[in-house]
């Protein structure tokens, strides 16, 4: 089979293959996950008694809590489903992110598929219920930044940066306002944008460390 045909076959079966591999990775991930880890057990995260700063990572625990209220099933089951959903969401997101820069479907397929095995070293030492939600939200935030579609967040950020011209106040404002996990991603994005703003308004046009 020629290389092009192989890529085309892979493209046709892309999502079933990705879902299957994601399930396998998720199973491996969940096997080593400690649900009742001291200081940040799932039950503690859900009832708000986990230690700081873990107690602020509320996205997965909150959705789990709501899901249990609607349909009572074990919390770990809901959390596992969310972990899988966020991992799959990340792959969808990174493939979409790639399509901003590269036009060919086979290239975007490759980037999506590559993102799974390359993630393995990140999972070896520590695992937490909120890891993949962070990964997904931050990827989505970066993608929106690349597309310049940041909506309200982008509008408020640019307004602050352009009118106040005081990044320290702005970042402090964000740290005070945004303590929950799903907003931590945006704090870092605010830092990227504010650092970039500083560089663009100093004499450096691009920061290049490599």
């Amino acid at each position: 089979m020629s290389r092009d045909k192989l890529f085309k076959a892979f493209h046709n079966l892309y999502w079933p293959i990705i879902i299957f591999i994601t399930l396998l990775v998720c199973k491996f991930y969940l096997n080593g996950l400690q649900w009742e880890e001291p200081r940040l057990a799932l039950s503690q995260l859900m009832d708000g008694t986990a230690y700081k700063p873990f107690v602020y990572r509320i996205l997965v625990p909150t959705i789990t809590k709501i899901a249990i209220l609607v349909f009572p099933l074990p919390a770990t089951l809901y959390a596992s489903i969310l972990i899988f959903a966020f991992l799959l969401g990340f792959i969808v997101c990174i493939r979409s992110f790639s399509s901003i820069f590269w036009k060919k479907a086979e290239i975007n397929d490759f980037v999506g598929a590559l993102s799974i095995p390359m993630l393995t070293p990140f999972m070896l030492t520590n695992r937490h219920v909120y890891d993949f939600s962070t990964l997904f939200l931050f990827s989505a935030g970066l993608m929106l930044m690349a597309q310049k579609k940041m909506g309200l967040f982008s509008y408020s950020l640019h307004t602050c940066l352009l009118k106040q011209r005081d990044n320290v106040v702005f970042i402090s404002y964000f740290f005070v306002l945004f303590q929950a996990e799903f907003q931590e991603a945006y704090i870092l994005e605010a830092l990227i944008l504010s650092s970039n703003y500083l560089h663009k308004h100093s004499r450096l046009n691009h920061v290049e460390i490599f």
């Binding site: 990340f90 290239i107 930044m145 920061v207 290049e208």
Partner: protein
């Protein structure tokens, strides 16, 4: 906002097995080579975002993470993958540079 783990990085009690360290070092070298190769031909947005985020994340890692807790770097993982893919894709015959859009736009 975070626990201080700076001094843990100098403690031998928290160092993982040599095999794991070797694996991490190999992964790091692979990523540096893949990201660094043909750096200037890669999309500006990705380069700028990584240039700003990587040092920041490294400082946060030193201050707030246990030694070798590389899950701290999840925030830059999407950038690493997108910057490494053009080089890793060449191994299976994909030419990213030929298929690249005009990516001169930088961070907003």
């Amino acid at each position: 906002m975070m626990e201080n783990h700076f001094y843990d990085h100098f403690s031998s009690a928290l160092v993982p097995s040599p095999k794991l360290i070797l694996g991490y070092v190999s992964y790091l070298i692979l990523m540096i080579i893949a990201v660094r190769t043909r750096w200037k031909e890669k999309p500006v947005f990705l380069r700028e975002a990584l240039s700003i985020l990587a040092p920041l994340m490294f400082v946060l890692y030193l201050l707030g993470s246990y030694p070798f807790e590389i899950r701290t770097f999840y925030e830059i993982y999407p950038l690493l993958i997108l910057l490494a893919s053009p080089i890793l894709g060449r191994l299976i015959g994909l030419d990213f540079f030929k298929e690249q859009f005009n990516c001169s736009s930088s961070l907003p």
